[in-house]
Structures are given as structure tokens and as C-alpha cells.
């Protein structure tokens, strides 16, 4: 469809690079699985207790795993000079940023979403929670990637921008975390969870409409330190 376009070109290159290196996919995934596995070890294996905290644990570790990968979203391209080539391509920069964000979600967010049900099983999440958890994580991790792109763009030229990046991005992740985890809680308690997922969807739409433009503007400032 857009394989020959600049959008498709960036998407394909980023996916190919992630596939070649492997660590881009495996690092966040292992972090997600390892930290979640630590919880039963620390709190004890009581199923009723784990079920209570499972939604929160999964959402928090998914957030942190995504945060871990944000720093490199533009920084690798900045270090080897290809970011300049992207900025100098005669296309709207927000579209190319969107390609990078999509690639980031496919590499980090999607695997986390797909592996989450396994970890939920380990944390004894009641059956009713699975569907809202997977839907919520799919939307939520996409929000993490989009909002994170703005922070990654602002800190692209900073040597140690990791902490600053977390400080910029974390407050913007709060609504996603609140709505995402509460959708699972409500489903487990037998309440209607659609309104909460709808709010998450609204946040996603808002991020989709603003984040690529904000990140593109931030990149133009960010490259000059």
C-alpha cells in the first residue's frame, strides 16, 4: 500500500533494524515479564491477593517497559545522522514521525499486549478481566508511544536525557494508567467497563491528533540542543 512511500520506507527500515538487532523487541518484553514475575515472589502466592493487584501490576510494568525503550526512538537516528535526512525529506515531518511511532508500537507495545494474558494468568486475574486488559493495553501502549515521541524528540540531543524524558512524559501517562487499570478492575467487579475504555479511546484520538505535530515541532528544536 504505502511500501514505496517515505512513510513505508521508515516503517520498514525500523522494523528491519529491530528484527536484526533483536534486543529492541526482547528488552522491553523481558523487562515486562521479569518485573511482573517478581510480584508473586514478594507478596506471596495467595491467588485472592494477587487477583486484587494484578491489573495495577500489569499496567505499571507495561508503562515502565515502554518508558525504557523511548530514549532510543530518535536518539539512534540522531547519532548516525539519519534523523537529518528524515527532517530534510520533502514531506510533512509529522507523517514521518507517525511512521516512527507506529514502528515503536509494533516493536514494544504490541508484544507487551500479546504477552500480557500469560502474565495475567500467573497473577490469577479473574476471567472477566482479560478482554478489557488486552484492548486497554493495545490502545494504552499506543498512547505511550505517541506521547513518548514528544518527550523523546525534545531530549534527542541531550547526552543523559533519560531522567528528563521520564519527568516530561510520566505525568502525561497518568490518565492512560488510571483509565486502563480501572477498566480491568471494573470488569473484574462485574461493572460496565465500556465507558472507561471509551475514555481511553478518546485519549488515544487526542494523542493521535496532537502528538505527531508536537513531536515534529519538538524535533526541529531538539536537534539544536
Amino acid at each position: 500500500m504505502f511500501g514505496e512511500s517515505s512513510f513505508g520506507g521508515i516503517l520498514r527500515r525500523d522494523l528491519l533494524l529491530a528484527f536484526r538487532r533483536g534486543s529492541d523487541v526482547l528488552n522491553p518484553l523481558f523487562f515486562f515479564m521479569m518485573t511482573t514475575s517478581l510480584v508473586p515472589l514478594a507478596t506471596g502466592p495467595s491467588a485472592s491477593q494477587l487477583a486484587l493487584i494484578a491489573p495495577g501490576i500489569i499496567w505499571i510494568t507495561a508503562l515502565l517497559a515502554t518508558l525504557l525503550t523511548l530514549d532510543g526512538m530518535f536518539k539512534d537516528d540522531f547519532a548516525d545522522g539519519s534523523l537529518f535526512q528524515i527532517i530534510l525529506s520533502p514531506q510533512p515531518l509529522w507523517l514521518l514521525v507517525l511512521a516512527k511511532v507506529l514502528a515503536h508500537w509494533l516493536v514494544a507495545g504490541l508484544p507487551i499486549t500479546l504477552v500480557a494474558p500469560l502474565l495475567a494468568l500467573m497473577l490469577a486475574l479473574p476471567d472477566a478481566g482479560y478482554v478489557p486488559m488486552v484492548i486497554g493495553l493495545a490502545i494504552g501502549t499506543a498512547c505511550f508511544s505517541m506521547v513518548g515521541a514528544v518527550g523523546a524528540a525534545l531530549t534527542v540531543a541531550l547526552q543523559r536525557g533519560g531522567v528528563l524524558l521520564s519527568l516530561i512524559v510520566m505525568p502525561l501517562y497518568f490518565p492512560v494508567l488510571i483509565f486502563g487499570a480501572s477498566a480491568v478492575h471494573r470488569a473484574v467487579e462485574g461493572q460496565d467497563y465500556y465507558p472507561v475504555l471509551a475514555l481511553l479511546g478518546a485519549f488515544f484520538t487526542f494523542a493521535l491528533l496532537t502528538a505527531p505535530f508536537a513531536a515534529a515541532a519538538a524535533l526541529k528544536v531538539g536537534i539544536n540542543g
Partner: protein, 213 residues
């Protein structure tokens, strides 16, 4: 010879941390002209090239391309220029061919036999499909320069293009420059080395440096 200038640089100045790096740089370049930006380290050669490539805004002054302000039609200008910076913009995990395919897609060019042609002309016919991480610094520079064969841009902005090239590479680059100028192209490059090319205009940036106080 007296053709209308394609690129007009009008009184460009750049400030960093309230210090003026250079000011009042004014140059006109017509088709077939080549200019070397020279000066000691830190005098702003890279900055000037970044300004010409629209990566940085100048503090003062403006640039005209074909008589119009660059900012009026930035995409039109970008389609006409090829910028190669200090870092050549290559992914080491990808092969030379994959890097060029990406570059072609980025600029909306068809991915066709031109990729092979560009790599052949850059003298890389024997290492098109090995990862760039196995290539030497000089070979990487050649991959970056192969982009110039691919793009067919009018204005080349090259930051230190001679870095890491061997004697053969430099004379090949000079031949590339000659044919590009012959086709009516314009080249602006920064370097400490002098090229054995006739008619290279010199822009010594130190002469535009503001006096420190």
C-alpha cells in the same frame, strides 16, 4: 558565465549563547559553481552548512533559491538539495543496498536499477549486500556519497566529504564534482584540504567572525 545566481545567501549571521559566531555572510552561486567553506575548528563551518540545509535558522539574513525565499517553498528547495553531514546517516546493521533503498523511499524516488548503478559508480560493486558494520570508514563514506548519484539533486551540501577517503577516493570524488558542475549543479562543501579542482571559490569563515569582547 554571467548567468543569474541560483543560490543567494544574504547577510547570514548566527549566534550561539549570545555570542555571534559569524555575521554578514553574503554569497551568490550560479549553476556550475563550487564553493569551499574553510576555517579552523569551531569557526562554524558545520553550522553554516546546517543553515543552508534549513536544519538551523539563521539569526539574521535570508537565503534565496531561484530568486525566492527558501522559507516560501521549503519542500521545493529540499527536493533540490542533497545534504551529507559529518555523520553519513547510515545504519550499520543494514547493507549498503538497504541503506540506499531507504534513502530512495524517503525522497519518494522509485526503488529500481538506479540503486545498483549508484553503488557501482561509487566503487562498491563488491560489497552491496554485506552489513555496513563490516565496511571500513572510507567505504562508509563512499556509501554516503553514492546517495548523490541516486538523488540527482542540483545543490550538494557536503560537510567534510573528504574524511576517511583514500587518494583514489578523493580523485573519484573530484571527478564526481566535475561532472556535477558540468551538468549545471552547485556544490558547497567544507574541508581543510584543498582540492585539485579548478575554479573552487573559497569562503574563509574567520573573516566573517565577529570580534570577541
Amino acid at each position: 558565465m554571467a548567468s543569474a545566481p541560483l543560490l543567494e545567501i544574504q547577510a547570514i549571521a548566527f549566534e550561539r549563547d549570545d555570542r555571534t559566531l559569524f555575521s554578514d555572510v553574503s554569497v551568490c552561486l550560479a549553476a556550475g559553481e563550487i564553493m569551499q567553506v574553510s576555517g579552523p575548528n569551531g569557526c562554524g563551518k558545520t553550522t553554516l552548512l546546517h543553515i543552508l540545509a534549513t536544519l538551523k535558522p539563521p539569526a539574521h539574513g535570508q537565503m534565496l533559491w531561484r530568486g525566492d525565499d527558501i522559507r516560501a517553498d521549503r519542500f521545493g528547495y529540499l527536493a533540490d538539495i542533497a545534504f551529507i553531514g559529518h555523520q553519513p546517516g547510515l545504519k550499520l546493521a543494514l547493507s549498503a543496498r538497504e541503506n540506499l533503498i531507504w534513502c530512495a523511499r524517503l525522497h519518494g524516488l522509485p526503488v529500481s536499477g538506479k540503486i545498483d548503478m549508484a553503488l557501482d559508480r561509487a566503487g562498491l560493486s563488491h560489497c552491496k549486500d554485506v552489513p555496513c558494520s563490516t565496511l571500513s570508514a572510507g567505504q562508509l563514506r563512499r556509501v554516503a556519497l553514492a546517495v548523490l548519484h541516486l538523488r540527482e539533486a542540483l545543490l550538494w551540501l557536503l560537510d567534510e566529504p573528504l574524511t576517511a577517503l583514500d587518494h583514489e577516493g578523493i580523485s573519484e570524488l573530484e571527478a564526481m564534482f566535475r561532472s556535477h558542475l558540468g551538468e549545471g549543479g552547485i556544490i558547497v562543501f567544507s574541508s581543510h584540504q584543498a582540492l585539485s579542482l579548478a575554479g573552487v571559490r573559497n569562503l574563509p569563515l574567520t573573516e566573517y567572525a565577529a570580534s570577541l569582547n
